[in-house]
């Protein structure tokens, strides 16, 4: 009997503490590589300080499942980095009011000794050399192999370089980790192999002395990585918190939000992990980086074509 009373009391406490309090919940589905850096904890703090009546809940998942959550109404917004998948999400009527908030570059990292001799090359040339060295038994490549955003990027790069990633899987030097970025980096480090990594995870693992891999190919057009935020269309999915989502989008694209992104990681890693994109796209349209972003991250020549915009309530 005592146990049942205790149980009832506990359930009530949990329920009151969470669901039906004064604070309105805003659920954002996001990708693991973004969440794992710790940036979103800061975003949450800053946003909730500005708007104390909202409570942001970040659900960290792969880009694919994040979009799936959103289309089922389990998230109010998505914060992801896979433009082709985002365009599909918008065409299906789910995503609206897309804004590009940040960019950075993927890195091709590998052993210091650089057995394939790729240091300083362009991404495509580097991958070709890795294939040659791999087939000669001198180098290894580790692939994420988990259908994440980074894995999608890797497959696209192999195709640009003229290789079929499905065929490469059968070759001995091409190893599939089937794991997250951290584990993949540890594996590459262990096996003296090359791999494609996002900046955040690489710097974190390097800084903590967990890996000694070196950056061989960095900032270049082919390795661009673009992060954007989208609201879930309230006309298509009922019950989403559109109002709060728009506040978050406005916050992230404001000077305050953009500065937060720009400064994240500078103190800890000696360089920023994310570069703010809003000003560049508005004021420096003709700069090289703005053109790269437009080419890779724009839909029909725009950040968000007008048929995918919804007025704020």
């Amino acid at each position: 009997m005592a146990a049942i009373i205790l149980l009832a009391a506990f359930t009530a406490v949990l329920y009151l503490q969470t669901g039906q309090s004064r604070v309105e919940r805003l659920t954002v589905a996001t990708t693991t590589s973004l969440y794992d850096t710790g940036l979103l904890d800061l975003v949450e703090k800053a946003f909730e300080k500005n708007y104390p009546c909202y409570d942001i809940a970040f659900i960290s998942a792969g880009t694919g499942i994040a979009l799936q959550y959103a289309s089922r109404g389990d998230a109010d917004a998505v914060l992801v980095h896979a433009p082709p998948k985002e365009f599909k999400f918008m065409r299906e009527g789910y995503g609206v009011n897309r804004r590009i908030i940040a960019y950075n570059f993927f890195l091709i990292v590998g052993p210091k000794s650089d057995p394939a001799g790729i240091n300083g090359l362009k991404a495509v040339a580097a991958l070709t050399r890795i294939v040659e060295a791999g087939r000669a038994g001198k180098a290894l490549w580790i692939s994420r192999g988990d259908e994440s955003g980074t894995h999608s990027k890797e497959k696209a790069l192999w195709e640009t370089a003229g290789f079929n990633p499905e065929r490469l899987r059968e070759e001995a030097w091409y190893v599939e980790a089937g794991a997250g970025m951290g584990k993949t980096l540890l594996l590459a480090n262990e096996k003296n192999a090359y791999t494609l990594s996002d900046v955040g995870t690489y710097l974190k693992y390097l800084g903590d002395g967990l890996v000694s891999l070196k950056i061989h190919v960095g900032e270049s057009k082919e390795l661009l990585n673009v992060y954007s935020i989208m609201a879930v269309n309230p006309e298509k999915v009922r019950g989403v918190n559109f109002k709060a989502t728009m506040l978050l989008i406005n916050f992230l694209t404001s000077d305050k939000g953009q500065n937060l992104l720009a400064q994240f990681g500078v103190e800890k890693y000696g360089r920023p992990l994310f570069n703010p994109a809003v000003k560049i796209l508005q004021e420096q349209k003709n700069s090289q980086i703005a053109r790269w972003i437009a080419e890779y991250g724009f839909m029909e020549g725009e950040e968000c074509p007008s048929q995918y915009r919804r007025a704020q309530p």
């Binding site: 146990a3 049942i4 205790l6 149980l7 506990f10 359930t11 949990l14 329920y15 503490q17 969470t18 669901g19 659920t27 693991t32 794992d36 850096t37 710790g38 904890d41 949450e44 809940a57 970040f58 659900i59 960290s60 089922r72 109404g73 389990d74 997250g180 951290g182 584990k183 995870t201 974190k204 693992y205 903590d208 967990l210 999915v237 019950g239």
Partner: protein, 223 residues
């Protein structure tokens, strides 16, 4: 490792919060599951009916239910687009609690039923000769099997507190809301915060060991 113990000793508020939530959620899941599983086991153990072996076999088989599979099913049920969407159980600790209760029900039923069946039939006979009612008879059997039942409940709590699939898929590992020990360990490891991961693992193991120790002491006292 040293860093991990420093984190433990310093009583890091996040670590404390996550630990308390794990204990609360899995503890109430165990109480909830026990509250209907023990009477159910009594009914199964004390009555003879057609299909009894099949029913027991069914619960035995469900013990091995993979937590991610149950997590996925519950996600689809609790999702806004799912049949139970209006209850707002997704991304809610109450949802994790219900999920864990469902997960461990077969374990409690199975273990409790076999503990009850192992009770010497003379106990029931004696109770009846002394003029006991059905309820009194059941109480006598439960008392006789209490150490087995305790073990079943403790094992269930261990399974609940150590599972990851449901907590991740139904809870979503939201900081300050649904983050529990196992989801925190998974996250911190991926983030490369190995020390924090170890600290949380040590806590999880301590909870499991402490509980088993308590059950053993209890059993010894029962003699």
């Amino acid at each position: 490792m040293v860093e991990a113990f420093r984190l433990l000793a310093s009583g890091n508020p996040e670590v404390v919060e996550v630990t308390l939530r794990s204990l609360g959620v899995s503890g109430s899941a165990t109480l909830l599951a026990a509250s209907f599983s023990i009477p159910l086991s009594l009914a199964i153990a004390l009555k003879n009916f057609k299909g009894k072996p099949a029913l027991i076999g069914f619960f035995n088989a469900l013990i091995g239910m993979p937590t991610v599979a149950l997590g996925l099913i519950l996600y689809l049920l609790f999702s806004k687009a799912g049949p139970l969407g209006p209850l707002h159980l997704l991304y809610n600790p109450v949802g994790i609690m219900l999920g864990q209760a469902i997960l461990i029900t077969p374990l409690i039923v199975s273990f409790t039923t076999s503990a009850l069946e192992a009770v010497d039939p003379d106990v029931r006979l004696l109770a009846r000769t002394l003029g006991a009612s059905h309820l009194q008879e059941a109480v006598a059997v439960v008392r006789e099997a209490s150490s087995g039942i305790m073990l079943a409940v403790a094992a269930s709590f261990n399974r609940a507190v150590a599972e990851l699939g449901i907590a991740l898929m139904v809870g979503g590992n939201i900081k300050g809301l649904t983050r529990v020990l196992t989801t925190a360990i998974a996250l911190e490891t991926v983030r490369g915060e190995i020390e924090l991961g170890i600290a949380l693992t040590v806590i999880l193991l301590l909870i499991v060991f402490a509980l088993n120790l308590a059950v053993n002491l209890f059993k010894r006292r029962l003699g």
